[in-house]
């Protein structure tokens, strides 16, 4: 059975020949595998594709995480990017500026919306710009037959909070001007749906929608249900209808909102180490498959035995059906290569 098949069967809540393993290999890690700086990797679609494929072949895991939040980089963005000694800053199409440091992954440097009146000027990003979907096209061409290609979109709540408005302002807006917040979320849902549809058109096997700002360390389950859930659901349902499979990923605690997440239309939930997999399987395992949650801290600095035990515990808790071994979150920069080998090895050993 090849990796793509193995991953798809687990997504479908069934039992493949072995549990698939799919660490969240992100900018800091893939660029190190490739031996280039993070910003070189992010700002060159060819290097990006090469890094992802090299990492998959090096470790032999079952997926490729096409993880760029704004998809491929375009010529305009490359021209507009500014470079400092230690980082680059890229203005993105909807306005937020992102910063890619020497170590670590991209992060929002400057959110876009100073004021909600600016919302009327926002236009849907042009997904047909040359370069935008180049990484996905290339990944599919080069490995799409045998490896599961999963592409990222940002959930409306997270995109609105962290990228468009800035987290602390957005948190207050939720209480003080909920109507504006919903207007923004509606727009971000359209962006997510259009992006997902484009990915499906090109042939992505799955979509990972990330909503870390909706974690229960940040907002209450009630606010999750009011501001995050309806839009997650809107996106999932639209993409389901279009033939897409969605994994929702939230790093942070989701224990109290698992049942809601399972009702969004997502096929699979990616949970952080705050969530107990046995408990999650019992509560929502009949509706969705699960993905997670080997501690990124342990992968960063744990011993060989700790990593092995962590993988084994995950499998003992989740079982073999409808489960994919992954990291709890994106890998820390500096996570030793050896530790990812250990994770994959343990998953192969205990996943049979």
């Amino acid at each position: 059975m090849n990796s793509k098949k193995r991953f798809s069967i687990a997504m479908d809540m069934d039992t493949p020949d072995g549990i698939p393993v799919a660490p969240m290999v992100n900018v800091p890690h893939a660029s190190r595998v490739l031996g280039v700086k993070p910003w070189e990797y992010v700002t060159d679609n060819k290097l990006y594709v090469k890094g992802q494929i090299m990492a998959q072949q090096k470790y032999g895991y079952d997926w490729i995480f096409n993880h760029q939040p704004i998809q491929g980089i375009t010529a305009d963005e490359k021209k507009a990017m500014t470079r400092d000694k230690d980082y680059v800053i890229i203005p993105t199409e909807l306005g937020p500026k992102i910063k890619i440091p020497l170590l670590g992954g991209p992060a929002v440097k400057e959110p876009a919306l100073k004021d909600y009146s600016q919302l009327d000027e926002l236009a849907m990003p042009d997904l047909d710009k040359p370069g935008r979907m180049e990484p996905l096209e290339e990944l599919l061409k080069q490995t799409g037959e045998s490896v599961y290609i999963c592409s990222k979109i940002q959930a409306p709540f997270h995109y609105a909070a962290e990228w468009m408005r800035g987290m602390s302002d957005f948190m207050l807006d939720m209480l003080m001007r909920p109507a504006d917040v919903h207007r923004l979320l509606d727009f971000m849902a359209d962006v997510a749906i259009e992006t997902g549809k484009k990915q499906i058109d090109i042939g992505t096997h799955g979509i990972m929608m990330e909503d870390p700002s909706a974690a229960s360390q940040v907002i209450s389950p009630e606010h999750y249900r009011e501001f995050a859930y309806p839009y997650e659901k809107k996106v999932c349902r639209a993409l389901n209808k279009y033939g897409g499979d969605v994994i929702i990923h939230i790093c942070g605690d989701t224990t109290k909102i698992l049942e809601d997440l399972a009702k969004t239309g997502a096929k699979c939930l990616s949970v952080d180490e705050h969530v107990n997999l046995a408990d999650a399987m019992e509560r929502v395992g009949n509706k969705v498959s699960l993905f997670g949650n080997v501690s990124v801290g342990t992968l960063f600095e744990g011993s060989e035995k700790q990593i092995k035990d962590n993988v084994k515990n995950c499998i003992d808790d989740a079982g073999h059906k409808g489960y994919i071994v992954s990291s709890s979150c994106g890998l820390h920069s500096g996570t030793p290569f050896e530790n990812i080998h250990r994770m994959v090895k343990a998953a192969r050993e205990f996943g049979i």
């Binding site: 440091p101 992060a107 948190m171 960063f300 600095e301």
Partner: protein, 207 residues
């Protein structure tokens, strides 16, 4: 009333409520006391997960709005009484929700606070310390990777001859009390309410 307004984040009415209290003869110091008592309860609710980030931020903003009215009436300059704090999330780390709460709580408790933002370069902490001469420097880090920067900041202050003038406090999801000792920080607090108590303690020891 004032206390309740803070707890409930009654940001639209806080000015009227504070004015009303002052007009009816309540001393400015007592109004401040009420507000701080309210914020303490907010801190407790946050710890108990009755409040999440939005509710807590709203209360903190309500307090700030009340303070703006009160400040000119207080007999002391806030910096005389409590001390000046600069606070930021260390370089490479963009988690700022918790750090912003700490900044607002400290401000609510009467400290003068300069919030340097997130992903703050070590050199920026040094430059701001030179410029503002703070009593306390607060460092926040949420990741095991960025946590290492905290030690670097303290070392840099030593190199620049600034270490003796300031007290370092640290916090965030990654560091611990033990880590704080290891890197030679003066204090650690695990949440915003405790951060206020920590600063009060450090400042009184200093005098």
């Amino acid at each position: 009333m004032i206390k309740e307004a803070i707890i409930n984040g009654d940001i639209d009415n806080i000015e009227g409520i504070v004015k009303g209290a002052l007009d009816s003869g309540t001393a400015p110091d007592d109004v401040l006391g009420e507000m701080i008592a309210g914020m303490e309860i907010v801190g407790e609710k946050f710890e108990k997960k009755e409040y999440y980030v939005p509710e807590t931020l709203l209360s903190a903003h309500t307090m700030q709005k009340g303070l703006d009215l009160l400040r000119p009436l207080l007999p002391y300059k806030k910096s005389d009484k409590r001390g000046l704090i600069i606070i930021g999330t260390v370089e490479g780390d963009v988690h700022d929700i918790g750090k912003n709460l700490v900044a607002m709580f400290e401000e609510g408790a009467g400290f003068e606070v300069h919030n340097l933002g997130r992903d703050v370069a070590t050199s920026e902490f040094v430059a701001k310390a030179r410029e503002l001469r703070p009593d306390i420097v607060g460092l926040s880090a949420m990741m095991s990777t960025s946590m290492e920067k905290m030690g670097e900041v303290i070392e840099e202050f030593k190199k620049e001859g600034l270490r003796e003038n300031v007290l370092f406090i640290i916090g965030g999801a990654a560091p611990t009390e033990e880590f704080a000792r290891e890197i030679g920080a003066d204090g650690y607090a695990e949440d915003a309410a405790k951060a206020v108590r920590l600063c009060e303690k450090l400042m009184s020891e200093r005098r």
